[in-house]
């Protein structure tokens, strides 16, 4: 008989805590990251050691899975505002720091506004902004 896989362990809307700082592990940026990302975007790299602006942000969404809290039960990424403050280069090691600013309940889930910054090995904030996420409610048992 076919068996359904386990439901993923997730952090549902009810469990999101406001104003708790989450710090991810770091990741060292390599030429391989830059080349793979250039392949995905189709935008040629003008300098193989310059990290494309959107790559650290993309990596931060995966780093966000590697914190003590289970991954957010995101139903949809609704939007974000972001600032690119300093260049990121191959060899830099970045991590992400985030906290939930507000949460607002809706019928189908809830809207979570998260503040996030990306920090390099010199403790400089290289990118920062606010993300708006639609997060699922815990399903009825």
């Amino acid at each position: 008989m076919r068996e359904a896989p386990a439901a993923p362990v997730q952090c549902y809307f009810e469990e999101v805590e406001v104003n708790v700082l989450l710090v991810t592990p770091g990741i060292t940026l390599t030429r391989a990251h830059v080349a793979l990302f250039a392949g995905v975007t189709g935008e040629p790299a003008s300098d193989p050691d310059l990290v494309p602006s959107l790559l650290p942000l993309s990596l931060s969404s995966g780093l966000g899975w590697r914190v003590p809290r289970p991954p957010l039960a995101v139903l949809a990424f609704m939007g974000f505002e972001w600032r690119f403050l300093l260049p990121v280069r191959v060899g830099d090691t970045i991590h992400s720091e985030s906290r939930t600013l507000t949460k607002r309940s809706l019928r189908e889930g809830g809207v979570v506004i998260e503040e996030r910054k990306i920090v390099n090995q010199r403790e400089e904030t290289v990118q920062s902004g606010k993300l708006t996420l639609l997060v699922a409610r815990r399903p009825a048992a």
């Binding site: 990302f37 995905v40 975007t41 189709g42 602006s53 995966g62 974000f80 600032r83 690119f84």
Partner: protein, 156 residues
């Protein structure tokens, strides 16, 4: 800072060459399952939205969808093929909305318009604001927003 001379075969395009109201349309690109798999591997974002076809059959989307940031990354790549290079200079800031899903097999293109110009963080640079829409094969705007780019001023 990006030097446009090195990447734009059409020659340098400076802040002064860009005018508010200029509009651009990019080529199209079909988003494939491979794009989503590679982006999941690269970013480490393995949310079931993007990786579990069976789970997604019972979701409102009915199937896996592309990561929002994959759509935006593809948008920036398409824009680099549809706009003068200077209009796509070093990103300074952006505001972005994900309005609808991008599904495997969808073909998207970019519509953009220069919405504003202002002084940059130093005398060598100007800031250009570009309004952008990522449009699918049905004409639906699936993502939209504004990007702000630092663009070199003409030297001398």
């Amino acid at each position: 800072m990006l030097s446009y001379r090195s990447v734009d075969a059409r020659g340098p395009v400076f802040f002064e060459d860009l005018a508010v109201g200029q509009e651009f349309t990019s080529p199209g690109r079909t988003v494939t399952e491979a794009d989503i798999v590679i982006f999941a591997g690269l970013s480490g974002d393995y949310n079931v939205l993007h990786t579990d076809a069976e789970h997604m059959k019972s979701s409102i989307f009915g199937e896996r969808i592309a990561h929002g940031l994959l759509g935006l990354s593809i948008e920036q790549g398409l824009a680099s093929r549809g706009e003068p290079t200077a209009a796509h200079g070093q990103l300074h800031a952006l505001k972005w909305k994900f309005k609808g899903p991008i599904k495997i097999g969808d073909t998207v293109h970019v519509r953009s318009r220069i919405a504003g110009k202002k002084d940059g963080p130093d005398a060598r640079l100007g800031l250009v604001t570009v309004e952008r829409e990522l449009v699918n094969q049905l004409g639906e705007v699936v993502q939209e927003g504004e990007t702000e780019h630092a663009v070199e001023r003409r030297p001398g």
